[in-house]
Symmetry: C2
Subunit: 152 residues, 2 copies
């Protein structure tokens, strides 16, 4: 299993569902593993990534560079809650909340990030095509699933 | 054409592509037309909407209430630039920049919002299933499509 080709096949086999691909995405974040991160993404030139508060990053070359810049600071301490899924046979849209923690001069800081992850089924399995994360909030905002005026 | 049924059929006919559905979405914003807005969305209970800086809103009932709350202040002065599209036969992911203007006590304020719109092809045509808009920025951030260290 030290053959890098074997590792690549093994990782591809793990991405037979959008959930598995998403798990690989966050494991790559948690370990700061750039190669694994890029194996998660489709090789489509229109893949897009928006990090919290940042610009839109388009295409495999720029997305790789953006994650490389993130991982310069080491792994990202992120825990993810799967909130909602809308899935078809070929496309999956996942809405998650990311709890991100970082040590700063002010001590351990925690932010909650609302993210939308989109996956498509390709010949190589499910691959990420979009990751859009909003700027972090200090609290975990509950989802709104009912209008505030509804009487029960 | 004053028959409301005729109008509904006419609008549905206009949503035969994801681009047409997206155009209807922004026209509904620009006119503050709640019924038109909701005609754009899929009736799937997992539709999701994130307004800039806001929580995640899930499902048709809550999404309607969220737009109703937005339109209380009248139409939204939004101009949209289509930036990128990733499309298949049944699913389309559009990345746009919204230029939003509002009159405030400090005069006319402009914000630039990065948004991801996801559409799916349904029996009734293309419908929106997700709208995720990041908090507005005072400048129009250019997309990053090349790593900053690339030498040409």
């Amino acid at each position: 299993m030290n053959d890098p080709r074997a590792r690549k096949v093994s990782q591809a086999a793990l991405m037979s569902t959008a959930d598995e691909t998403e798990a690989s995405f966050y494991e790559a974040m948690q370990t700061g593993d750039l190669e694994r991160m890029m194996s998660v993404w489709s090789d489509d030139e229109e893949i897009a990534c928006v990090h919290p508060g940042g610009p839109r990053v388009i295409g495999t070359v720029a997305v790789r560079a953006a994650f490389e810049a993130v991982f310069v600071n080491g792994p990202v301490h992120v825990q993810v809650h799967h909130v909602r899924r809308l899935e078809t046979a070929v496309c999956a849209i996942h809405h998650v909340t990311e709890k991100v923690q970082a040590m700063t001069d002010q001590g351990l800081q925690t932010a909650y990030v609302i993210a939308t992850n989109v996956f498509m089924r390709t010949a190589l399995g499910w691959r990420m095509v979009a990751h859009h994360a909003s700027a972090g909030l200090p609290q975990d905002l509950p989802d709104i699933t009912e209008p505030p005026s509804t009487l029960h």
